[in-house]
């Protein structure tokens, strides 16, 4: 590794990803704890009752292996589980089943940045472990210190987690943010996690230090409790500034864990003395080594979808999309699938990209729904866009039809009918009058066309659109075209 400049931030991330396996890592209880009545998704195993024993959830292993393969990690064909021993009320066995010396996968990398700015951030390891329960403190501010009592909810206890650790190769808060964002995108594409930081299904801890005068690594500080990409970035910015000020004052950085307070916008050290944890890791005797057959791993490899960064590149190279369009369309797997479905129905890539960005995402935002819950199927949007393409529907009319199709769950023809009458109701002499009316208003354009200044036919399309708007979509664009031709070429 190249020597770093002095005073450069060195950031490494530890990311816990909750996997949506349906059942917990070592028992059959549901993982769907959000909104569930406390302590209802529990059984003797995830409550750690005396005599209960864990059995590994195959699906969790599949999901983790799939993620590791997508990251290009080396799969450990024989790995094992360790016990991480510590006392806390949210940990019912007083140990967490995790992986230690032989993780499920090591190595691999994740790309951030684009084109020549692309940087591959290496992955240290990926391992499986179980989540803990949740403490609910009685104080109004939810803080332990101010609480008279605390309650424990074990619904989350035993939910499968992948811990993914990056090498300390990120050097700005922005890079860290992008790394998490790319990883989130990946797990969503793989369908292994919601990747929702706000809901805690993706949790990030950051290790950060500043290099010394000779570029050597400084003392690292761990920052926790960032619940969004934005707070991750803010926390790192704050922490870098804090450490720089510390050093400028001639103080030494203390190795510690600091909590990000999103409200106050600062990190604070854990009060009191830092307790040196000795987790007394040892191999869990209840679980035999996890041995993966090459066939199992191959099966998981065959289930990998096109990876988001490959897809993005393809959209740019193959369909000529701008990098920005491609980024927006590949942020969520559902959007990417939607886009490609639209193309299959005859929409052109640029128009589809544009419509999805401006119209579809707008509606999703307004309604606060995901693309999966969006009423208008990509087939229907594809048909609508194809009509624009073939000049059958003007863009203006198409936007009106789009609203109808979304609101009333219609296809193009139904929407046209609903618009009052079937396509072409304004026809014959009525339509001719309407065209003349429009042309009267647009003399300048007509003049230009007559002078042959409409090589690409854009001006004709423009006029056609105006007529369609005038007819409130009740005209047949083909007929409009024909009438326009007659008049203009006369």
């Amino acid at each position: 590794m190249s020597l770093r400049k002095p005073n450069t931030p060195v950031i490494g991330l530890e990311i816990h990803v909750q996997m949506k396996t349906g059942s917990k890592l070592f028992c059959a209880c549901s993982t769907d704890y959000i909104g569930a009545v406390p302590n209802t998704n529990v059984c003797p195993v995830c409550l750690g009752l005396p005599g209960s024993l864990p059995v590994v959830n195959r699906k969790a292993v599949e999901y983790a292996v799939r993620t590791a393969l997508a990251l290009g990690s080396r799969i450990g064909y024989s790995t094992r589980f360790h016990r991480k021993n510590y006392f806390y009320p949210d940990l019912p066995k007083a140990y967490q089943i995790s992986q230690y010396d032989v993780p499920l996968a090591v190595g691999g990398q994740l790309p951030i940045g684009e084109g020549k700015d692309r940087k591959w951030i290496r992955i240290t390891r990926l391992h499986l472990e179980e989540d803990a329960g949740k403490l609910v403190h009685s104080a109004r501010d939810g803080r332990l210190g101010n609480s008279e009592y605390s309650l424990v909810d074990y619904n989350r206890g035993g939910v499968p987690l992948m811990e993914i650790v990056s090498e300390p190769e990120l050097s700005t808060p922005c890079e860290a943010r992008e790394f998490v964002s790319r990883l989130r995108q990946l797990v969503r594409f793989l369908g292994v996690s919601d990747g929702d930081m706000e809901k805690g299904s993706l949790r990030v801890d950051a290790n950060i230090s500043l290099t010394g005068p000779d570029g050597e690594l400084g003392t690292k500080v761990e920052v926790k409790n960032m619940n969004s990409l934005r707070s991750l970035e803010r926390a790192l910015e704050f922490e870098i500034a804090r450490q720089q000020e510390c050093l400028a004052r001639g103080e030494r950085i203390r190795q510690e864990t600091r909590h990000w307070d999103d409200g106050k916008g600062l990190t604070c050290g854990t009060r009191g003395k830092e307790e040196a944890h000795d987790y007394r890791y040892f191999p869990d005797p209840d679980l035999p080594p996890l041995v993966l057959s090459p066939d199992f791993v191959d099966d998981q490899r065959s289930l990998l979808p096109e990876l988001p960064w490959d897809l993005k590149e393809r959209l740019v190279m193959e369909h000529g999309l701008s990098l920005e369009d491609a980024s927006v369309l590949t942020e969520l797997p559902g959007i990417a699938r939607y886009f490609e479905e639209c193309l299959r129905k005859g929409a052109t890539p640029l128009r589809a990209a544009n419509w999805i960005r401006t119209e579809v995402l707008r509606v999703l935002n307004e309604k606060r729904i995901s693309i999966e819950a969006f009423a208008l199927s990509p087939e229907k949007l594809g048909q609508l866009l194809a009509r624009i393409e073939s000049g059958l529907v003007s863009t203006t009319l198409a936007k009106e039809l789009f609203e109808k199709m979304v609101d009333e769950n219609l296809d193009v023809d139904e929407a046209l009918q609903k618009a009052g009458s079937p396509s072409g109701k304004v026809t014959g002499n009525d339509l001719r009058k309407m065209v003349k009316l429009v042309l009267d208003r647009e003399r300048a354009t007509v003049e230009e066309i007559k002078q042959g200044k409409d090589g690409k036919g854009k001006k004709r399309s423009y006029l056609c659109g105006l007529v369609m708007r005038e007819s409130k979509g009740q005209a047949d664009p083909a007929e409009v075209g024909k009438i326009l031709e007659e008049i203009l070429d006369r």
């Binding site: 005599g51 059995v55 007083a94 007394r280 040892f282 209840d286």
Partner: protein
């Protein structure tokens, strides 16, 4: 009556399960105030279960191979809604919401569970004196210990309360009390019997197994207990044989019995030496050959290896008793006090000693020197046994170095207590099956046991050899005037 005979009589409606159960209850009532084998009698429930068996018989349904057989189970096996104390204050009133797999297997086979048997707290001990509630007496001399930790189960069978009982064996906890109480005790190969619902002491060593007063009953019990269990990831999926099929073999020609050369000069009480010689003569008489095998690492490292690994696992397994969810809970003002006071009150001295030892050997800075070295020793011991079983089909060894000792004799000297496991615990380290059988009585009337050890999955060989001895010596006697 043997379990086999009871099941047959009940199935043929010559006697009802309720009658059998009532008789067993009567026997307990007459004798148990002296022996105190049972922690929690389940008499009413047993009579109800027995009545269910009888109804099945009336309706021509098959109640299973243990139809109406009264059974006692060690109190570290979970039974839904019933107290499962593990002999500890910590779980004094804890009722699990589920059945251990072996409990389910027993009841599905028609067995009638008569009660939960006393034990050393969390199965840590060799005398049942570490029970938080009361010690159990040796039925042959109530001033002496019945062995442990499954002392209650062994005593219950020795007194004839029941023909079968379940214990658990982590370092000898079935075989040592079987020897002290003069009954059969079988510790199966690790992975043969499900541990689901067995409250863990040391997970890589624990195994559930039966006590009986006849080899045939032992085999029958194994047929019921030995089933693959998807709820236990360490349960072997291999197919199980019919364990009664290996019985009835009078000729042992071709059977090679190994004697461990290192044990020849090991300090063992003369009665036990004599018993070994007697059993050797019987096996030779039946046609078996004897060979010498060597287990140097086992003798040297077995005991320390065990007393590192078992406490290490125990310290982690017992960490969950923190007063937060179940069991006793100290009234305190803060979390750290809750942990310390609850665990201080809930655990007895031996359990605390092992938790401390285990925590120590797993701590950073000591892990490599203790835990890791012990793991290596364990692998070596396993290899040594494997090599020995290249030469012999089974090993004949003492179960214990001494006859049952007096109550209180080793209470102040844990090392002396640990030494009583020297012949049993290597078998757990190597995950092998071990069968302790009675080979007669000392001049003072105390039972004398010896042990057969087999290769992995070698239970049938042990049963065949034990039956050959039984054929000559007869079935073990019943203590305290039972039948």
């Amino acid at each position: 009556m043997k379990a086999v005979e009871i099941a047959k009589a009940v199935k043929e409606a010559r006697i009802t399960a309720v009658e059998i159960t009532a008789k067993a209850i009567e026997r307990v009532r007459r004798v148990d105030s002296e022996v105190r084998a049972l922690l929690t009698p389940l008499f009413e429930r047993a009579l109800e279960k027995a009545a269910e068996i009888d109804r099945k018989i009336e309706n021509n349904q098959d109640p299973g191979p243990l139809a109406g057989v009264p059974v006692v189970v060690k109190d570290n096996l979970c039974m839904r809604g019933l107290k499962t104390t593990c002999g500890s204050r910590m779980l004094e009133n804890w009722c699990p919401p589920y059945d251990a797999s072996v409990i389910r297997f027993l009841e599905e086979a028609g067995a009638v569970i008569l009660g939960k048997a006393n034990m050393d707290e969390f199965a840590m001990g060799s005398s049942t004196e570490n029970s938080a509630f009361f010690p159990t007496a040796n039925p042959w001399d109530t001033e002496r210990v019945p062995g442990g930790s499954s002392g209650g189960s062994a005593a219950a069978v020795a007194c004839g309360y029941v023909p079968l009982a379940l214990g658990s064996d982590t370092g000898g906890s079935i075989r040592q009390p079987a020897a002290f109480c003069g009954v059969y005790g079988l510790k199966p190969t690790y992975g043969l019997v499900s541990r689901f619902g067995l409250v863990a002491f040391a997970s890589s060593l624990d195994q559930v197994g039966p006590f009986s007063r006849s080899v045939e009953d032992l085999a029958l019990a194994m047929n019921v207990l030995s089933r693959p269990d998807p709820a236990d990831a360490t349960s072997s999926r291999r197919e199980r044989p019919d364990y009664t099929a290996c019985l009835g073999k009078e000729d042992l020609k071709g059977l090679k019995v190994g004697l461990v050369s290192e044990f020849e000069n090991y300090p063992v009480q003369p009665e036990i030496r004599e018993a070994l010689a007697k059993v050797e003569a019987i096996l030779r008489g039946a046609g078996a050959e004897f060979v010498s095998v060597s287990l140097p690492a086992t003798i040297e490292a077995g005991l320390p290896c065990y007393y590192i690994l078992a406490p290490a696992e125990a310290s982690s397994n017992l960490a969950r008793y923190d007063g937060v969810r179940y069991g006793i809970s100290a009234k305190t003002e803060n979390l750290m006090d809750l942990y310390m006071k609850t665990r201080g009150l809930g655990f007895g001295p031996e359990v605390k000693r092992r938790i401390l030892t285990g925590t120590y050997v797993l701590s950073s800075g000591y892990y490599d020197a203790y835990y890791l070295v012990a793991q290596k020793a364990r692998i070596r011991i396993s290899r040594e046994f494997r090599e020995a079983f290249g030469r012999a089909d089974l090993l004949l060894m003492p179960t214990t170095p001494t006859l049952p000792f007096r109550k209180g004799e080793h209470q102040d000297d844990p090392i002396q207590m640990y030494l009583s496991d020297v012949f049993t615990l290597p078998v757990n380290l190597a995950g092998l099956p071990g069968l302790s059988l009675n080979a007669g009585y000392s001049s003072s009337g105390l039972p004398v046991g010896v042990q057969f050890v087999g290769p992995k999955w070698g239970e049938e060989t042990l049963l065949t050899a034990a039956e050959a001895v039984e054929r000559v010596l007869g079935k073990p006697a019943c203590a305290l005037g039972g039948e």
